[in-house]
């Protein structure tokens, strides 16, 4: 009977779901005495795997550098000890993250955790970290809802990234200070014309956090902006044609895109190529990755992105030498450049090492206390005040953020970013592309 086949089909679909939710766990890796075990939570598989690989490789590079210098001095042991990284593949899913973190904590007995990318994934395993009281330096999970939650103890979690409010504020400031005046001047708009902003956002805590932040900032700063479209999409989506068609019908001046790297590339391509949008896309910092520039190709020309670390746009100043060294070392080891998430994780491993050295112990509570008071000079990303430290309230580090604009580079055949905001860091002025048309007057 066909009913039997339906039952088997249903069973099969259920099992496929299990496969999607399941993951490849690494074999137990007992560490010897006197080694520092750092668990790296990275999306090695699934929709965020490109970024996950970047996170893991950058952590490897940092650990190798530290070990080559003799490891981390630990006072209680009376000697320096090497770092051993243990990979925890969160599979870009909440369930995968919970499984990976549980294994890292209970089976591998890591001293510190670093990494974490998706806000949705990190929020799902925060309770495990809180229950086990393991210091966790989170280089992703930008949603403020993740760092500021009150339903569990986040005192062991340190956020080495700007939160959604920070990055949204940088974007809104850029739009208010540079973008709106530029299009008003070019197209002769009246001073009271509101900037028409469309928000396309990942339907996740990350995306919703950004949307909420944008709404709140427009109100709080009384910005002359109008949100003309709010379009959510599922994490991992690759077909944005209908969403973009809907946005196009709303005639925006700019599209604020809250995406992962693997979503922004097809979104930009489909916007320009398939839907024929002649609107600029303002993307978020987590997309500033070499794979974005190679993937988006000519369709990226003129697009804008908020950033804090760019593989191709290194701000002049005190962080320039360290950034260029990191990029060169990464290129030598892996062939290619690291992205922003890689840089943040690289720094996080150094922060973990510094905290362990300061604590003089591998005791998790002592490392946590050390992280709470840590103050080390900025490395590659420009920090407010020039130091990496964590705020006393929600343990968040604070960055100087900037905005880049992409321009085609004939030599590489790919677009390359140039810093256009703020004035203190910009390399050239923001330029409105010839193909751009604003929304309704």
């Amino acid at each position: 009977m066909r009913l039997n086949y339906l039952v088997y089909l249903a069973l099969g679909v259920f099992l496929i779901g299990l496969i999607l939710a399941a993951g490849c766990t690494q074999a137990p890796a007992p560490g010897g005495p006197g080694e520092i075990k750092i668990g790296v939570v990275a999306s090695m598989t699934g929709p965020a795997s490109t970024t996950g690989k970047d996170i893991w490789q950058s952590a490897e590079l940092a650990a190798e550098e530290i070990n080559q210098k003799g490891g981390v001095p630990v006072r209680e042991l009376g000697r320096s000890v090497p770092i051993r990284l243990i990979q925890g593949d969160d599979e870009s899913t909440r369930e995968g993250g919970m499984k990976a973190v549980t294994k890292l904590i209970t089976q591998d007995q890591v001293n510190v955790l670093v990494g974490g990318y998706s806000s949705a994934v990190v929020s799902a395993h925060q309770a495990i970290v809180a229950d086990n009281k393991v210091p966790y330096i989170i280089s992703g999970a930008s949603s403020s809802a993740v760092s500021r939650r009150t339903d569990l103890d986040t005192s062991y979690m340190f956020f080495h990234r700007p939160n959604t409010d920070d990055s949204a504020e940088a974007c809104m400031d850029f739009l208010a200070e540079v973008f709106r005046p530029a299009i008003s001047a070019k197209f002769g708009f009246s001073e009271d014309r509101k900037l028409r902003v469309a928000v396309i956002y990942q339907d996740s805590p990350f995306g919703k956090g950004q949307l909420d932040a944008v709404r709140a900032l427009i109100t709080a700063k009384n910005l002359p902006f109008e949100i003309v479209a709010e379009e959510p999409f599922k994490m991992g989506e690759s077909d944005f044609r209908t969403v973009l068609t809907s946005v196009k019908a709303k005639n925006p001046d700019v599209i604020y895109a809250v995406t992962f790297l693997n979503e922004l590339v097809p979104m930009t391509q489909q916007a320009r190529r398939d839907v024929g949008l002649t609107t600029l896309i303002l993307a978020i910092e987590n997309n500033d990755d070499p794979d974005y520039y190679s993937g988006v190709g000519t369709y990226g020309d003129g697009m804008i992105m908020e950033s804090r670390f760019s593989p191709y746009a290194v701000p002049a100043g005190s962080t320039e030498a360290a950034t260029r060294k990191f990029l060169a070392d990464f290129d030598k080891k892996y062939g290619g450049f690291a992205g922003m998430m890689g840089a943040a994780t690289y720094e996080s491993v150094y922060v973990a090492a510094a905290a362990i050295e300061d604590a003089g112990s591998l005791d998790r509570a002592k490392i946590r206390d050390s992280l709470a008071r840590i103050r080390i000079p900025q490395m590659m990303e420009i920090m407010k005040g020039g130091y990496i430290s964590f705020s006393p309230d929600f343990r968040e580090s604070k960055f100087e953020l900037y905005v880049v604009q992409l321009a085609m580079d004939p030599a590489s055949g790919e677009p390359r970013p140039v810093i256009v905001w703020p004035d203190s860091l910009k390399a050239r002025e923001f330029a409105i592309p010839d193909w751009y048309t604003p929304g309704s007057p």
Binding site: M1, D203, S246, Q269, D291
Partner: protein
């Protein structure tokens, strides 16, 4: 764009494109099920393999990717034949659970093999017609999508002619309608199994090529979601019914895109299964399914 009708027309066109990919995937799946009564959950991996075969030959040859259909389809047919001979034939008739677990194992094998060869980075490729668009009034029709719709129609017409006008095609249909009867009439049903599985995989391979050519990104793990939707489509259209797979694929493509337009992209995947549940409540055998085997 002028007016709401034009916007809806544009959305319908995106739905038609999505439907084409689903139709090719679901038709192959239904063809295999119709003849062998085998449930192959690794069918989405054939689509994924199709994208990588196209990508690989596009990079090394620089050929027009549509020409590469003449490579991806035969290669995937060969892969399908090998899979049928090595994996499904030995366990045919031993129970559905064996088939299910074999196909689940194949998912892992294909995914890991492709990740090992091409890494698990997201990939995309650019069609030589990527920048060409035809305007139908206020609706923008990218040339690639028109070609994809036309190729899908050609493949389906070709399949129809093959199944209805050739001796082998008639033998496949006979095996599908009554396996024992076909055997008694001298048809080598095992050969038909092998051929059908190969054709099904080839259709998925064609879907993979069209997926890649349309500019969508792909990685080794991308096949599972389309496969699940493929199963939803064949249940919706009726198990074993090729017209059902075509109508079901189009329906899912359209409904997904109109849902994304009216309710937002978050509902895009969920609506396929909501539609499936509604159809099964009204017509438990699917749109074109029969009451009994």
């Amino acid at each position: 764009m002028d007016g709401g009708i034009a916007v809806l027309g544009q959305v319908a066109f995106w739905g038609l494109y999505a439907g084409c990919i689903y139709i090719l995937l679901a038709t192959g799946l239904n063809l295999i099920f119709g003849v062998m009564k085998v449930v192959n959950f690794a069918h989405g991996e054939f689509l994924m393999l199709g994208t990588y075969v196209t990508f690989f030959f596009f990079v090394i040859s620089g050929f027009n990717p549509y020409i590469l259909l003449f490579l991806s389809i035969p290669i995937l047919i060969s892969v399908g034949v090998v899979v049928e001979r090595l994996c499904f034939r030995p366990i045919l008739g031993t129970g559905k659970l064996n088939e299910i677990f074999i196909s689940l194992g194949l998912i892992y094998i294909f995914q890991n093999a492709v990740a090992m060869i091409w890494t698990d980075e997201w990939r995309s490729m650019k069609s030589p017609f990527a920048d060409m668009t035809i305007s139908a009034g206020p609706i923008q029709l990218p040339l690639d999508y028109i070609i994809i719709v036309a190729i899908t129609a050609l493949i389906l017409v070709g399949l129809h002619i093959f199944l209805h006008r050739t001796t082998t095609g008639k033998a496949i249909r006979a095996s599908s309608q009554n396996r024992k009867g076909a055997m008694l009439m001298g048809i080598n049903v095992e050969r038909m199994d092998m051929l059908t599985f190969g054709i099904g995989a080839g259709l998925a391979g064609a879907a993979g090529t069209l997926w890649a050519v349309s500019g969508q990104v792909f990685n080794p793990y991308m096949g599972s979601v389309p496969a699940i939707k493929g199963f939803a489509i064949i249940i919706l259209g009726g198990l074993g019914s090729i017209p059902g797979a075509i109508v079901g694929g189009l329906a899912i493509g359209m409904v997904e895109n109109f849902t994304a337009f009216f309710l937002g992209g978050s509902w895009k995947d969920a609506i396929s299964f909501i539609l499936l549940i509604i159809v099964l409540l009204v017509r438990p055998t699917g749109l074109f399914g029969e009451g009994q085997e």
